[in-house]
Symmetry: C3
Subunit: 347 residues, 3 copies
């Protein structure tokens, strides 16, 4: 919702330099395209050229990163951490939709469901037996919550997310549309020429402040729990197999795959489309680079690249060497010829 | 719906040679298995052998590509572009299901929704505040359309597709089941040992004649729009991150991933499972081959292969060289031995 | 449901050694964490150390694989195949939820739907014209079944799975949430600067005892059928394009992609994120290793690795050689210098 520059500055811990403190800020914009009525941010000296002709009404800048040139009408919002101030500003100018504390008449709740205070349940949502939804949580239209599920406080379950029976979700968790939490893990034993299913009777346990992207799948444990620690953020179309133990503040980007029974330690980062074989440990703070295929354990803080993945310093050397290989083949051929001539010379 | 050979030929701009113009054509079939009552096509001389014993009632062939042998009972439908004529024939013989202009009593539409003419809304579909559905569009059972969404004319939104708030969709757009358009982009800043979410307040804007596959995800822009130009075709399980600007007539095959803030120019083709790092530009008409991992800009018309992806001529040379590398290791060892012997000889 | 050790042993073909035959077994647990009241299994001598201090009430062991040390209170359940006996035990202790033979009042069934005996249809499920659901099948909440679909006996279609028109599914098939069976294949012809859609008018035919993971997509054939043979098991987020003919007892792990018109023979195994180009044949029992990219036919029983994929013995040799390549570059440089010195010596 719109606010004056002065109000915005105060709310975001910034000092105004120039501009009109009564100017109305309506929305947040990108530095390359911000218009009048918008606030933007400058976080990198590379982008100062955008400011020169920008129509933005205001711009967050860091103490000490003053832009060399900017329009006289633009206000600078000087602060210690412009990225965080800008995040605050976006949140204030574009508040998330709120859901009234109502249960849509078209929702189907089992009689044994227990609801906290200020819970919203949208039309066509289904909540199964003995499940609990915590205070302030919103189960949006068509979200499916199975039986014996526990969802904490201030969660948001988007349309057509599916939470299978027995899943436990902490507070302040967002599950985007189409995510499937708690489907069967993929486990079979081969007998008499066919695959016999190992019943998957565990569950999924998700910590506080986790965000789960659209169409991501997290399978239930075979016997125990697949776990996902607090503060971890999972992007879209990620596959997390059964029995994985995923730490806190882990990042998994789009289309990552973690097969099963892995241990992903706190603060690990799995970049886009990275894949992890089963029973692998990824150490604390390790970075698995985009499209890497990891078949063995990765030490803490290491950066791994390639498929099969190796420490990135090793992998980069190999990639550079590979680019020289076609030339090397020619050179070795030439060396061989030289050698043959030398041998002839010796005869 | 069934039609006579004569009717079909006229509708598809073809000349009948042989066969019975009154024969009934019931459906279209593949050249390798077409049966009596079916029409098929011959588009490649490699497949003429299938025709020899085919029971198909008719076959589209190109002027100048007459099959050497085919059953006397088979009619040839001679035309200039058999692929296009066959596409027309399939459409006529197998018309798409049409939806009556009705709103299912089990749908939930906000009071401020505006509907064009001849709109179908299926059971359990949900349409949010201030959204608009254009003439002739069908919102199938259970499709979810958020608030302030604009859907153009003659669109088809399949069951359980989810369109988040504020998304704009052009005319003649198809969204398959489970696709999620407009979920939050994946953006966090790391502060005080945890990931702080950057609010994602932009939207997605989709041009005319776009098709979006099942379970594909297209994230909303962080501040502005993620855009997808007219005529682009996106297969299943594709991930398109926030702020991407995707041109017109772009092809993305199954499981492609485009991280974020990329520019994919018109007519680019991204083959299956290709992945594009963030802030990359893919030039007009460039082809990113299957499973390629692109980390930097790709020039127009270039063909890129491998991961990390390179111009395919370079990448192929490296792959061929790699296959010779085990032998090269042996040869260098042998050269070393020869050289040592030569050195001994010189002493 | 809980049972005594004696009951469990009898039901699972095991002989009790030690422990109390009247002890109550409540659930199944993993060998590393099983507690009192739980039964576990020992299938590998590597894990015997877990048993030494285990609180498990009972443990399945193979004749001839007796653990060297285990608590006196623990009963051994000696049998010929502990994995299968344990699978039976899990099934008995954790029975799958059963669904009463009812049609939820919130379901929408076309008047021409035919239902077998003991069918469950959950709230907000939709079943289209002329479709048939076989005896004992459960169509869970919000599952969408199009028109002219045939679903066999004892199937389970999970919430928000989508079965498009005309799909045929055998008996004992499980389809997990968000799976989309029968969406359009991805086929276009390029004419006049745009992509013209080839109508996709075939269907999908799925055999008995197939399991399909969450958010997996199987496209309908362009003209004929995409087929999936009996006993095949498909994990989550798998993409199976149009016209593929997939045999019996095939395994596809998470995020596998099969483009189109492929033939995957019986008992083939496609490990996680493997990808198959179009028109490829994968021979019987072949194993495509994780993340392999297959561009050509693979013989029966072969193991393929890498991208582009090769027989794993060849691919491994290349990978090992690649790791020696940076050293090889140095050595060839040194050889060149030696040779130049020799040449000088000859002058």
């Amino acid at each position: 919702m719109p606010m004056t520059l002065e109000e915005l500055a105060r709310a975001c811990n910034a000092r105004i330099e120039g501009g009109d403190p009564m100017a109305l800020i309506v929305s947040a914009g990108d530095i390359s395209s911000a218009q009048q009525g918008q606030v933007t941010q400058l976080t990198n000296a590379r982008y100062t050229h955008y400011l020169k002709e920008s129509a933005a009404t205001a711009c967050f800048v860091a103490e000490g990163l003053m832009p060399p040139a900017f329009p006289a009408t633009m206000a600078l919002l000087v602060c210690t951490d412009p990225e965080m101030s800008f995040i605050n500003a976006i949140g204030l100018l574009h508040p998330e939709p709120q859901y009234a504390a109502t249960i849509a008449p078209q929702a189907v709740l089992a009689t044994t469901v227990s609801l906290g205070e200020n819970v919203y349940v949208g039309p066509f949502a289904v909540i199964g037996e003995a499940s609990h939804i915590g205070d302030g949580s919103a189960i949006l239209a068509g979200a499916y919550v199975g039986g014996r599920v526990k969802i904490g406080k201030h969660c948001r379950i988007h349309p057509y997310a599916v939470i299978y029976d027995g899943v436990v979700i902490g507070d302040h968790v967002t599950v985007h549309s189409g995510a499937v939490i708690g489907a069967d893990g993929f486990g079979y034993k081969f007998r008499d020429h066919h695959h016999v299913k190992v019943p998957q009777v565990g569950n999924v346990v998700i910590g506080d402040h986790v965000e789960i992207g659209a169409n991501t799948c997290i399978d239930r444990g075979a016997l125990g729990s697949t776990t996902l620690g607090q503060g971890s953020k999972i992007d879209n179309l990620v596959q997390i197999g059964h029995n994985n133990k995923i730490g806190r503040h882990v990042i998994m980007c789009g289309q990552v795959g973690v097969s099963g029974s892995c241990k992903i330690d706190d603060y690990a980062i799995l970049a886009g489309s990275a894949g992890i074989a089963d029973h692998v440990t990824i150490g604390q703070g390790a970075v698995i680079m985009a499209r890497a295929g990891v078949a063995g354990d990765v030490p803490a803080q290491a950066h791994y690249f390639g498929s099969p993945a190796k420490d990135k310093r090793v992998a980069y050397k190999e990639q550079i060497a590979l680019s020289k290989l076609p030339e090397l083949l020619k050179k070795v051929k030439w060396l061989e010829e030289q050698l043959q001539q030398l041998e002839k010379g010796q005869d």
